[in-house]
């Protein structure tokens, strides 16, 4: 009993270490820039983080299930171009469901290839990343899309309006995080995702339909991309064809920062939220300090490496491991 508790304490401390680092870092930035901890700034960073954040929620579930999803960046471009373009063509009432249908179809292709066909998720979703980018160009011909009547459409609500003084995208992000957290923590489906990611063989022997579980994780990820596209399209009221380019890595960084293991079977939606916020506050804090962009890249990278190291160290039970 005592021994197992001690063993459990290692990872716990390492994980909390990340949270402590986050708090120290927030206070540090707060001391350097008096604007950093102002309500306005916190609200603004939260709002900026929602697009990466919503996507990261879905990817967290895919990663817990033992797979990767690198297609979310170009899927976001696709969904945003679609929802913005359809807004003027058929109206948002029909355009939004159409966008979700198309996005979920892409998720189903990922889910089928990885879940049912058992193909390597890295290769499948990396291929989807460029395939979807091609699909966008076929659809739009490379042209930017814009919503013509920007002030008169109710589509503004997703990205630009507030409810009880808090921006709507923040409400969407936090409530989706809460719902997915509850699903992952308290439903049989959530437990199955952890089982499939932790030990696929054992999960199959215990009667879990692995293919169905993996398929569903990709559908959730695609759904989250659809939600992110609503926020992005409404915030910008237009879209470039490559608007989500590179987002897949930011999303993955946020998921890793949140302590979700890339090996699958372990992770936590709410900690992903912290990872997302940490990424957002790093970039914002350095910008407020007037640091050039390359410092932001460097510091972001250092923080990610630190987080991965802490994650691995937590699993090994010590910071340095002489034996691989």
């Amino acid at each position: 009993m005592v021994l197992s508790r001690l063993k459990g304490a290692g990872p716990a401390v390492a994980r909390q270490g990340l949270l402590i680092a986050f708090i120290v870092f927030m206070i540090g930035f707060g001391l350097v820039s008096e604007r950093f901890l102002s309500l306005d700034n916190i609200a603004s960073v939260l709002r900026q983080s929602t697009i990466i954040g919503v996507m990261a929620l879905g990817v967290t579930i895919v990663v817990i299930g033992g797979n990767l999803d690198l297609s979310v960046g170009s899927m976001l471009s696709f969904s945003t171009v679609l929802v913005v373009d359809l807004h003027d063509k058929v109206g948002p009432e029909i355009g939004i469901p159409m966008m979700f249908a198309a996005t979920l179809t892409l998720g189903a292709i990922n889910g089928f290839l990885v879940g049912v066909m058992r193909l390597n998720s890295l290769i499948v979703t990396l291929g989807m990343l460029s395939a979807i980018q091609g699909l966008i160009l076929i659809y739009s011909g490379g042209q930017n899309v814009d919503i013509s009547n920007q002030s008169g459409t109710w589509f503004r609500v997703f990205g630009r309006e507030s409810f009880m003084n808090i921006a709507v995208p923040i409400w969407i992000f936090l409530s989706l995080a809460l719902i997915l957290h509850l699903i992952m923590s308290y439903t049989p489906f959530g437990r199955r995702v952890f089982a499939v990611g932790g030990n696929p063989t054992a999960s199959v022997f215990s009667g879990i339909k692995r293919s169905r579980v993996v398929f569903t994780t990709y559908m959730i990820s695609a759904f989250c991309v659809g939600v992110a596209a609503l926020i992005l399209g409404s915030r910008v009221m237009g879209s470039q064809n490559t608007v989500g380019q590179g987002y897949e890595l930011l999303v993955l960084a946020a998921v890793i920062l949140g302590g979700t293991s890339l090996l699958g079977g372990a992770g936590n939606i709410l900690k992903t939220v912290i990872g997302v916020l940490m990424l957002g506050f790093i970039q914002n804090g350095l910008l407020l300090m007037g640091q050039p962009y390359y410092t932001q890249w460097l510091v972001t990278w250092i923080v990610i490496i630190l987080a991965v190291w802490l994650d691995v160290a937590a699993k090994r039970g010590k910071l340095f491991s002489p034996i691989a």
Partner: protein
């Protein structure tokens, strides 16, 4: 039986050769490798305009390629075009420095290289026949003039630049900063951050600027796409009133915002002019004309007062 058949074949071959030869002599084959078609409307429109311009002429045959933003792929495409013995290569560099060896290689094979839109690095200049494109330093300077007018020579502004490392972004920034310091010492650039040619990114950067500074009089963005992102952020914060927005590469959204009176001015740059100028420069080089190294097509200032003289951009 055999002999006549061979004879016929030989005659046919000779006839075919005879038919093909004059056509080959009159037609020039020009290969183009573009930067990243589809990444934005400008490049998409450029490609179509280039193809249209080439089709208008009977004596031009084109091989149109796109590097998808990948410099390694573009170097391979240059090699392929050299292998195909085209008469001239037009290249829109993905990376002005990394492409120099490939350009030198073409030069050694006596295939003239025409650089379009965004210039190659200084050390590659001796290997190219000509550059055709916008003068981005001049565009930055023109934007500084617009900003100076808009603010009556006084104020604090922020700058949102394009993709770091991209020649157009660097040159516009330099042209803007140098000219502003010269003609408008009363205007101070209080912060500069990249918006990566991405409207959403520029919007986020502007939100952070608005948090950081209580007082911003103007915004200079490396293109209108980012400029409109900054305008969106300022409008959402309720601070767009009286703020002077100046961009470059006038986009349709920038044009519309100008018509609304929300956006001060920009630089009008037509991808159609750009593509036509590139093809014409290549043809001039092939015709043996004395072509200058740097060929700039005109990119005038556009603002609320003179915008009626310009068509709404198609991108």
């Amino acid at each position: 039986m055999t002999k006549p058949r061979i004879g016929t074949l030989t005659a046919t071959a000779a006839l075919m050769a005879g038919l093909a030869a004059p056509a080959a002599a009159d037609t020039v084959r020009i290969g183009i490798t573009q930067n990243d078609v589809g990444v934005d409307s400008y490049q998409t429109t450029y490609e179509q305009a280039f193809i249209d311009a080439a089709e208008e002429r009977d004596d031009v045959e084109t091989i149109v390629l796109d590097a998808g933003g990948d410099v390694a792929l573009q170097i391979n495409q240059m090699q392929d075009l050299i292998q195909q013995q085209v008469d001239a290569i037009i290249v829109w560099p993905t990376d002005g420095t990394a492409l120099v060896p490939a350009v030198r290689n073409a030069h050694r094979q006596d295939i003239p290289v025409i650089v379009t839109n965004s210039n190659i690095a200084e050390e590659g200049m001796e290997f190219i026949a000509a550059f055709s494109g916008p003068d981005n330093i001049q565009q930055g300077a023109s934007a500084a003039e617009l900003m100076c007018e808009g603010l009556d020579g006084e104020g604090e502004i922020v700058q949102i630049t394009g993709q770091p490392g991209y020649t157009t972004a660097i040159e516009r920034q330099r042209g803007f900063e140098d000219e502003l310091a010269e003609i408008c010492p009363g205007i101070e650039i209080i912060a500069t951050q990249p918006g990566d040619w991405n409207r959403e990114r520029a919007q986020s950067v502007m939100e952070d600027f608005l948090t950081q500074y209580d007082h911003i009089d103007g915004v200079y963005a490396g293109d209108d796409n980012m400029g409109v992102g900054a305008l969106n952020a300022a409008k959402d914060a309720g601070r767009a009133e009286g703020m002077v927005f100046v961009g470059a590469t006038n986009f349709a959204v920038g044009y519309d915002a100008m018509a609304e009176g929300e956006y001060y001015g920009s630089i009008y740059q037509s991808p159609v002019d750009d593509a036509r100028a590139a093809l014409q420069t290549a043809l001039d080089v092939l015709a043996g004309e004395d072509v200058p190294k740097l060929n700039y097509f005109e990119t005038p200032k556009i603002d609320q007062s003179n915008m009626d003289e310009f068509d709404r951009p198609v991108f």
